[in-house]
Amino acid sequence: MSDQQKIELNYVGAPVVRFDAAEKVRGTAKYINDIDFPDVLVGVTIRSTHQRAKILRIIVPELPSGVTLVTADDIPGENYVALFNKDQPLLAKEVVNYIGEPIVLLAGANEDELRKIAALIRIDYEDLPAISSIEDALSGKFTPIYGNDGVFKSYGYVKGDPDAAFEASSFVLEETFRTGFQEHIYLETQGVVAFPYKNGVKIIGSLQCPFYVQKGLAPALNLNPHDIVVEQAITGGAFGGKEEFPSLISGHAALLALKTGKPVKITYDRHEDICVTTKRHPSKSIRRIGFDKENRIVAMDIDFLLNGGAHSTLSQVVLARGALGSPGAYKCENIRLLSRAVATNQLPSGAFRGFGAPQAFFAIEAQMNHAAYRLNLNPYSLRKINILRIGDRTATGQLLKESVGLEKALDTVAQRTNFVEKYNLYQRQPKNGQPLKGIGLSTFFHGCGFTGKGEELIKATAAVDYSNENGALIRIATVDMGQGMNTVMRQIAADALALPIERVAVAIPNTAAVPNSGPTVASRTTMIVGGLVYQCCADLLKQVGATPAAKDFAGKAKQVTNDVLTATRDYRVPDDVFWDEDKFIGDAYPIYSWAAAVVEVAVDPVTFEVTVEKITAAHDIGKAINPILVEGQIEGGSLQGLGYASMEVMTETSGKLNQASLTDYIIPTTLDTPDIETIILEEAYSRGPYGAKGVGEQPLVGIPAAYVGAVENALGVEFCEIPLTPEIIHRQITSPQSSQRTRRKE
C-alpha cells in the first residue's frame, strides 16, 4: 500500500472519541434486553442434570394453553449446530454429554409460569461412565465421546533432530504446567430474539459473528442460509464468548419462533450463563527444554493438551493457535510437538480472547523463567539470547521479514521497570516478616488474523458505498462488541477518502445488508477487514478519478454521478504466504504482533496474599489507528490476564461447576487493579492499513507467566499452575514434596 504515504492523516493515529460513547454513558444505548418487541414470547431451556447418560423418557405435564414445547423431534432439519464438525446437537435426543446440555424448550408469555412448568417436566436417565478429565479421556478406559479415540483434533511435527539435540544439551528442564477454566464474564449475558420472517427466520442478538449464526443454523432449520437473517444488537462485551455460542441459543429461539409463529426471546441470567456457556479450555503442557553452553535453546519436546469438553466447537482452531504458541517467541531448530484437544463430559470449551495462546505461553514463559534461575541468569538475559528477530525463522520455519518489535518491547519494559536490578535485589531480600517484593517477565506474540489457511477459507468481503447525499457507508459483518471497531473503521475510511469523519458511517451488521467480512475474532478486524475497507476506498477514488493527495474525492464524485457508488473487495492471501496444515510448516500467520510484560508484586509472607503493584506492557501492534482504543485493549486485556493468573478459580465436581455465580467466580475489581503502564510500539506492517496489525487478544496472553514469575521471585519457590491463589502457594510451600519445585541451590 505504497500510496498510503501520500495520504494526509487527520484521523488515523488520533485519539478520536468513539462514536457510541455518548449514548452508552447516558444509558440510552439499546442492548437486546432494552428493546421492546411487541407480542414477544419468552423461551426457557430445560437441561441435563446428568453428566453422561441415555435419555430414557421425557414426561411432560399437560401444558396450559399458550405454552409451547419443543424437543429434538421438532427440529425440521438435521440435529446439529454447523461449525467444523456435526457433533453438537441443537437439542440432545438420545444421550446427554454434559450437565447443562439443552434437551427441551418452552415458550410462553410468562416466564414465571414457564419456570414452574419446567420444574414439573421429568426426564429419566440411565447413567453412563463419565469422562471427567484429560487423563480419563486418554486412559482408554471409557467409551469415547467423539470419534474412535475421544480426540477432537491432533497436530504435531518433528523439526530437526530433537533426540540428538537433547543428548548434546548442557542443561535440560522437564516440567508439567496446568491452567484452569476461565469464564468470559461479559457484563451483558447471552440474549437473542427470533422472529418468523419471510421464508425463514430473523434473529437479533448479542453476538460477534452474524454469519456464523446463519451458517450454523441452516442445516438444523432446513432453510437456505439467506432465509436466516441475522442482525447484531449493541453487544455488551464478548471476548470470544459470543463467537460460536450464539448459534446454539439462536437456534433454540428460532425453533420456538417457527413453532409458535411469534417472536421469541431467550436471555440467560448470570447463573445460567455461567453454567452453560463455553469457557477457556483447561490445559496441560508436558514440556522438556534443552540449552547449550551458551544458554541457547537447542531442543524442545512439547505435549500440549486441551480439555475440549463434550463437543468439538472451535477446539481444533484453538488447538492450532496453542500449538503454534507453544515454542514461544524463540529460535529453536529441534522441536518435537504433539498437541491434542480431547473430549470430556464437561461443558464445551470454546473461543476466549487469546484462543489457546494464553495456555501455551503460560507454559513456555514460566519454563523460561524457571530455566533462567537454574542457569544462573535472569529472565531478561535469557530472553535476549533466544528471542526472534528480523531474519529469523519461527518454529514452523516462517521467515520473519518485517515488523518484529519483540526486542524493542523486551528492552522497553526491562528499562522502564529496572527489571534486572530489582530481580536480583528481590532474590536477596531478607525474610523478616515484611511483604516480599517480586518482579516477573514474559515475552510473547500473537499471530494476526486466522491461523494458516483460515483467511483463505473465509474469503472475507467488504464493501463501501458512497452517495453525495449520505456520504460513505462501510458495509462489513465484523462488529463492534466494545473494542471500538466502528470508530476505527471510520477513521480508516475518512482518511483514505479525505472526507470529514462525520461523512462516514458503518452499516448495522445484518446478513441481508452487508457482505460477509468474516467473524469478529482472531485480532483480524483492523488488519484484514480494515485493509479491505481501505482498498474499497482506493477503488472509489479510482472510480471518480480522484487522488488522496488532491483530496478531491467528494468534488469529483459529485461531478460523476448522483447514484450510489460502490466498491467491493475480497481478501486474497498474499501469494508469498505459504502454509501446510498437515505438516505444520510455513507461514502460520501473515504477520505477528509482539509484546513483553513485567508484573511487580508484594506477597504477604504469612497469608501469601499477593498485591499486584504494577503491570508494564509494551506491545508492537503496527500503526495504532486509535491510540486511546489501543490502550483500552492493552489495559483491559492485561487485567483479564491477571484475573486468569491469580483469582479466577473455576472448578467442577463430576461435571458440575463449583463456581456458578459472580459471588463465587470472582473477577478483578478496582481494588485488585494495579497501575497499568502501556507502551505502544509501532513497527509498521507493509500490508496492513496504514501499517496496522492486530491488538485485541495479545494483551491477555503474557500476563500469567509474568505474574507467576513475580511471585516466584518474591518467595524463591517455583509454580507450574494457574490460577495461582494464596491457597495454592500455601499448599505448595508447606507440602512435603515442595523440595522438588524449590529452587536448586548452587
Binding site: R18, P64, I117, G236, G237, G482, E631, E635
Partner: protein, 180 residues
C-alpha cells in the same frame, strides 16, 4: 427418546397453588419518586426495584448484570446513596427518592467518560456513572484511592478500570476549577 404426555393431576394442582400464592391481589399503596417524578407502581411491593424501573417505567439505562448485587450494572441512587437495584424491593422504596442514570445530567462527568476512553462495551457504564456521581456529590475532590473504593462495587470486564478512574479524576478536576 420417549416423550410421554401424561396428565398429572397432582402436579397441575401444584402449579395452580403456586400461582395463587404468588399473585399479588392487594392494591399497592406505595408511592415513590423516580427522577423527580412521583410514581404509584402497578407492580407488587415484592418486585425488585430493578424490574420496576426497567419493565414498568422503561428506564432501561439501569442494567442487570448478575442479579445478586456483585456487578453494579443496576446501580441507582436511593435517597442519594448508591444501591444495587437488584437487591432492593419496591416495597422498601415507599416514600423514598430513586435516581437512575436517566435522572443524572452532569455534562462534565459524561464528557470525561467519553474522552478518556472509559467506555468500551458500555454495559457497565451507566452503573459506573451513577457511582461516580454519588461520590463526587459527597466528595468533590477524591483521591485515586477514594475513587477506587467508591467504584469497587462496579465490575467492568473491558477497560481494566484505569480510564474509568481517570475519567472520574478529570470530572473532579473540572468541578473544582468551576467552583473556584
Amino acid at each position: 427418546m420417549v416423550i410421554q404426555s401424561v396428565i398429572m393431576s397432582d402436579r397441575s394442582k401444584i402449579i395452580k397453588k403456586i400461582s395463587a400464592t404468588s399473585a399479588f391481589s392487594a392494591v399497592s399503596s406505595i408511592s415513590l419518586t423516580v427522577n423527580s417524578v412521583t410514581r404509584t407502581p402497578k407492580a407488587s411491593p415484592s418486585t425488585r426495584l430493578l424490574d420496576f424501573l426497567r419493565d414498568e417505567l422503561k428506564l432501561t439505562g439501569t442494567k442487570e448484570g448478575c442479579g445478586e448485587g456483585e456487578c453494579g450494572a443496576c446501580m441507582v441512587l436511593l435517597d442519594g446513596k448508591p444501591v444495587n437495584s437488584c437487591l432492593v424491593l419496591l416495597g422498601q422504596c415507599d416514600g423514598r427518592e430513586v435516581t437512575t442514570i436517566e435522572g443524572i445530567s452532569v455534562p462534565e462527568l459524561f464528557k470525561a467518560f467519553e474522552e478518556t476512553g472509559a467506555v468500551q462495551c458500555g454495559f457497565c457504564t451507566p452503573g459506573f456513572v451513577v457511582s461516580a456521581y454519588a461520590l463526587l456529590k459527597q466528595n468533590p475532590n477524591p483521591t485515586a484511592a477514594e475513587i477506587k473504593e467508591a467504584l469497587s462495587g462496579n465490575l467492568c470486564r473491558c477497560t481494566g478500570y484505569k480510564k474509568i478512574i481517570e475519567a472520574v479524576q478529570k470530572a473532579a478536576k473540572h468541578n473544582i476549577q468551576r467552583d473556584k
